[in-house]
């Protein structure tokens, strides 16, 4: 049931991408997202596409799995398309009826924004597919470590993030079990109007909150029992160190970003094909 949500969930596989340092993946994802806005022409898109598909191939995450994750954001994509399509007034009018006008510029923006959004989502979900939540927060903690000097509690924030991330699947599973237990007692979760449906959520939400608080309490107790005192003086079991493959990955990404910038700017294939 509810456990089948795949967006952003870690996908275990043995690939170079899975083994990369999380910092590399974080920085590269950010660079890739920025790179998507550095160009405005077809050669740029071709390069971004090739790069993305290359990374997907290397990641060994099945393409089907990635597409499945996209289904959750279809609504967002639709809204983007509709807004860009009808609200951009630029260039020749292609279609006009009543209050709906589609211009060449609108169509172009709609198509390109959609592609950008899809790439953006695939790009960032590739990171979460190949990085466990723990690695991710480790990476964030280390990347943001300099902020400690500015009295930002980096370690605490990272710890909170990793706990929150860890709790998501647990609570989803719990919700699933609670829903089943109540359905078994004849609870009707689907029919009725808004108010009835909101009311029918009570038998799910109460046990869920009770269990969430109980778990939080247990966790706090367990952490204290193991002498957790915050980040000061705390060492890591697997400290992050850059290896050769991480350096190579950085170089590949930087070359790509520079490449896409120049190709997008200066290769004269600025024609738009529809």
């Amino acid at each position: 049931m509810i456990r089948d949500i795949t967006i952003g969930q870690y996908y275990p596989a043995k690939s170079v991408l899975h083994r990369l340092d999380p910092r590399v993946k974080l920085v590269s994802t950010l660079l890739y997202l920025i790179s998507l806005f550095l160009f405005k022409s077809i050669p740029g898109y071709i390069m971004a596409t090739l790069f993305l598909f290359g990374v997907i191939r290397v990641s060994k995450v099945p393409f089907k799995h990635i597409v499945k994750g996209l289904r959750a954001v279809v609504m967002l994509l639709m809204i983007t398309v509709i807004f860009n399509l009808f609200l951009t007034r630029d260039g020749a009018v292609l279609f006009h009826k009543w209050i709906f006008t589609i211009t060449e510029g609108g169509l172009r923006t709609a198509v390109y924004m959609t592609i950008r959004l899809i790439y953006l989502i695939i790009g960032s979900s590739l990171m979460t597919f190949t990085t466990t939540p723990n690695e991710l927060t480790d990476g964030i903690e280390k990347l943001l470590y300099p902020l400690n000097k500015l009295h930002v509690p980096v370690h605490e924030v990272a710890m909170m993030m990793s706990i929150a991330l860890r709790f998501i699947p647990i609570l989803l599973e719990e919700t699933d079990k609670i829903m089943k237990a109540q359905i078994a007692r004849g609870a009707d979760l689907e029919s009725g109007n808004m108010i009835q449906r909101a009311k029918s959520m009570i038998p799910i939400l109460v046990p869920l909150f009770v269990s969430a608080f109980r778990r939080a309490n247990d966790l706090a107790m367990a952490m204290e029992a193991r002498c957790y005192r915050g980040g000061e003086g705390r060492t890591k079991m697997n400290p992050l160190h850059y290896k050769t493959r991480d350096r190579i990955a950085y170089i590949v990404v930087i070359v790509y970003v520079i490449g896409v910038f120049f190709v997008g700017r200066y290769v004269p294939l600025g024609i738009w094909i529809f």
Partner: protein, 281 residues
């Protein structure tokens, strides 16, 4: 009146890295009025199996017949099935939510569309059946002890007057006394009404004591489906899959090997005692 499963297969998260074939070609018949025990190692698919019985999860392939009616056919009344096949989950915390025990037990009957009076009447009856003391009826379910919560949860299902009662490890996390109390209560219910009882447990002793028939699950498959003493005769095979026959089985086999003429098929301590006494005389 029976439940019949035909070549049931269930796969969790098919087509992903987490794919898990949890039930493999399970075929079973559970006649009405029987007390069936289901046992198996952790992850053998017991919980998955019983959630099929009231249609909470739908088999990947295979059919289920309740009273000879296919529950997967179009237009089958699932709600009715769920009120006939009552399922008590392993953790009572998953279902208790109301402000007091009484109201919580009324939740099931209320969903069946009964009037308030009927609900209360059934709730009272169910609470009495599970042996929860009257002073707890108005207590918050969250203030109860583990054993009391379990009783309240069982009452919550019993109040719907199911024809089949399915319990998933109703004794997990209880002390020996609490465990015996609950099991005695369930056995009593089974004798009093003509209800079918399906009990999932990790303890061979418990199951041996109460069940007419034992279903042994192993890696999603039905390994044995027979009366207790025939299942326990395979105690060596049971050990290989991480289970064990009740301790009396071992004692009786040992005694027999050393020359005492006892029946190795006895399943409970009391029977064993009688048997040994008889052989010694």
């Amino acid at each position: 009146m029976s439940i019949r499963l035909e070549n049931l297969n269930y796969v969790y998260s098919p087509g992903t890295a987490y794919e898990k074939h949890a039930l493999k070609d399970v075929s079973l018949t559970i006649p009405h009025g029987e007390f069936v025990g289901i046992i198996g190692h952790t992850g053998s698919g017991k919980s998955t199996l019983i959630q099929h019985l009231n249609g909470l999860i739908r088999a990947t392939s295979g059919q289920i017949y309740y009273n000879e009616e296919n529950i997967y056919q179009d237009g089958y009344n699932m709600k009715e099935l769920r009120s006939q096949v009552g399922l008590v989950f392993q953790y009572p915390e998953h279902q208790l939510f109301e402000i007091d025990v009484m109201t919580d037990v009324c939740f099931g009957p209320k969903n069946q569309g009964l009037t308030l009076d009927e609900c209360r009447e059934r709730a009272l009856e169910a609470l009495r059946l599970v042996g929860l003391k009257e002073k707890y009826y108005k207590a918050s379910p969250f203030e109860l002890s583990g054993g009391q919560k379990r009783r309240a949860a069982i009452a919550g299902v019993l109040a719907m007057r199911p024809r089949v009662l399915v319990l998933d490890e109703p004794t997990a996390g209880l002390d020996p006394k609490g465990r015996d109390d609950i099991l005695e209560q369930i056995a009593y219910l089974h004798r009093q009404t003509d209800m079918t009882v399906i009990l999932v447990s990790h303890s061979m002793e418990d199951i041996a004591r109460y069940a007419d028939r034992i279903i042994v699950m192993n890696h999603g498959e039905v390994m044995y489906n027979d009366e207790p003493k025939k299942v326990f005769a395979h105690f060596r095979e049971l050990e290989e899959v991480g289970l064990a026959a009740p301790q009396v089985t071992y004692i009786m086999h040992d005694l027999k090997e050393r020359g005492l003429a006892v029946d190795t098929g006895v399943t409970t301590v009391e029977e064993a005692a009688d048997e040994i006494m008889a052989a010694m005389r």
